[in-house]
Symmetry: C2
Subunit: 272 residues, 2 copies
C-alpha cells in the first residue's frame, strides 16, 4: 500500500483528519512532571493515551527534541513507540541537502527512526528530495506555502506569472510517481490552499496553522480536502497539548482534540 | 567581535581559506578503526590533528551524524571539542522552520552544541532565519546557490528579471545588521559567485563543491573572495577526508589539504 492509500485508510477507519503536533517544550510542562526521569516522555505518553482514538496522525517537530540534545533524541524513539501502529507518524524535520547528504537524512528519518513520513524543504531541488521518495509506503510532505509570516518573502514571488510556491507544487506533482508525495500548506493561506488543491486533487496535504496560529478551519476543510473529504491532515500543536498548563493537561488536551475533530467532521459533512 | 571579523581574523592568522568538511560516513572508514569504541570519533580526531594548522574552519554536516542516531549525536560534541578554539566550526544543518521552532534549532546549534556558525535554508523567510541571528559573534550561512544539480529547479527561476537566488541574496543583505550573515554559493557556479560577490562585497561566503563535486578552484578564488582576498570559505569534504581509504588516511588527508591550501593561496596572490 502506498502512503496516500495508507493515509486514506487511517482517516476513514478513525473517522478523523486531525493530527496532533507533539511540539513538546520541556520549559512548558506542568510542574508535577518534574519528578519523572524523562518529563517530556511522560507528557507525550499521557497526551497520546488521551487522544489516540481521535487522530489520524501525530506530528513530531524535531526542533523541540534536538534542542534538548542527547536527552531529546533519546525521547524521540520511545515517543514513536507509544504511537499505535495504525496511526501515522510525521517527522517534521524540514530537511534537505545535496543528494548524498539527503540520503543520510532520509535514512535517519524513515529507516532509523522509522517515521511513516517526514517533511522536506524544496529549495535545493530534485536530488535533495529524491532520497526521501525511495519507499512507496513512506510519505514526504514538501513545503509549499508555509503558515508563518516569512512565507511571503520568497514563496509568493512571481515566476512566469505564477507564485513560486505553484512551481514547487507542479514539480512535486512530477516527483509523485510512487504516490508517496504530499505538500505542506498553511491553514493561514485559504486562497493558496484552494489553488494547490486544484492542481493536485488527490495528494495528501499537511495543513498546520489551525489553533495558535489562527488559521481558518472552515476554509481549510472546504479547500484542503479532496473531493470525497479526505487527504487533508489538519495539524494542531500548541492549542491542544498546552490546552491546560496544570495537572489536568491530558484531559484538557482530549477535550480540545475532541472538539476540533468533531468540528472538522461537521464541516466535512457540510462541504462533502 | 562580530562573526565576519572573527572569520577574517582566523583566515589572516592561519593564512588559509580552507575549510574541511567532516562528513564522516561510518561505512567508509578504514577497517583498522573498527576496534575503537567510537570509530567515527577516532577518524575525526586523526583528521583534525593532521590538518588543524592548514584550515580556517571545519564544517560538520549533521546529516552524517544523525543517520547514526544516538551514537552519532554522541559523536558531535566530542568532535567539536577536538576543534582548536581559534578555528571556526560550521554546523551544516540547513535548518529553518516557523519562528518558535527555528528558535529551538538556533538554540540547539549555537548554544547547546555551541557551533560558531550554522547553515540555514531561506525558503520560509525572515522569521525562520531571525532566531539564528541573535548572537553577533555567531554566523549564519543562508543557502543562495547550492552546488548540486537540483539547484536549477527553483534557485534560478526568473523573478522580476532576476533569478530567485538573487532575491535571497538581497534579503540576506538586509538581515545582516549585526555583520553575522553569510551565504552559501556552490563552487560549481562561478558566474553566480561573481554576481553574488558584487552584491555583497564583504559578506562571508561558504563555498562547497570544490573537490568531489568538480568546482572550478581558480574561478572560485577570483570571484568568491572580497577585494583583499578574504571571506571566502572554501570547503572540501570527501576529496580530503577520503583521500586514502587505507591506514594512511590522516597523512593522505594532510597532503591533500596542504596542496589545496597552497593552491588557494597561489591563486589569491595571483588575483589580489
Amino acid at each position: 500500500m502506498n502512503f496516500t492509500e495508507r493515509l486514506h485508510d487511517v482517516q476513514r477507519k478513525n473517522n478523523s483528519l486531525l493530527c496532533i503536533g507533539l511540539d513538546t517544550d520541556s520549559r512548558k510542562l506542568p510542574p508535577s512532571l518534574a519528578r519523572y526521569e524523562n518529563p517530556v516522555l511522560e507528557f507525550n505518553k499521557r497526551i497520546i493515551e488521551a487522544t489516540r482514538d481521535l487522530v489520524c496522525a501525530y506530528k513530531i517537530n524535531l526542533a523541540f527534541y534536538e534542542a534538548e540534545s542527547d536527552l531529546g533524541i533519546g525521547t524521540l524513539r520511545p515517543t514513536l513507540r507509544l504511537i499505535p501502529r495504525d496511526i501515522l507518524s510525521i517527522g517534521d524535520a524540514k530537511r534537505g541537502d545535496i543528494g548524498n547528504s539527503s540520503a543520510r537524512y532520509a535514512h535517519e528519518m524513515l529507516e532509523v527512526l522509522n517515521f511513516d513520513s517526514s517533511t522536506v524543504n524544496p529549495y535545493m531541488g530534485t536530488d535533495s528530495v529524491e532520497p526521501f521518495l525511495t519507499w512507496p509506503e513512506k510519505g514526504t510532505f514538501i513545503l509549499a506555502v508555509t503558515s508563518n509570516p516569512g512565507a511571503k518573502d520568497f514563496q509568493y514571488l512571481p515566476v512566469k506569472g505564477k507564485p513560486l510556491y505553484e512551481h514547487v507544487v507542479r514539480k512535486v506533482k512530477k516527483w509523485n510517481v510512487r504516490n508517496n508525495c504530499g505538500l505542506v500548506v498553511g491553514a493561514t493561506r485559504p486562497k493558496e490552499l484552494q489553488r494547490v488543491r486544484s492542481i493536485v486533487p488527490d495528494m495528501p496535504l499537511l495543513i498546520p496553522g489551525v489553533g495558535s496560529q489562527g488559521g481558518d478551519l472552515a476554509a481549510t476543510i472546504r479547500y484542503g480536502c479532496n473531493k470525497r473529504g479526505y487527504l487533508a491532515v489538519i495539524n494542531a500543536s500548541r492549542s491542544v497539548i498546552y490546552a491546560s498548563s496544570k495537572e489536568d493537561f491530558a484531559e484538557a488536551a482530549r477535550k480540545e482534540a475532541l472538539a476540533l475533530r468533531d468540528e472538522i467532521n461537521r464541516l466535512r459533512e457540510k462541504y462533502f
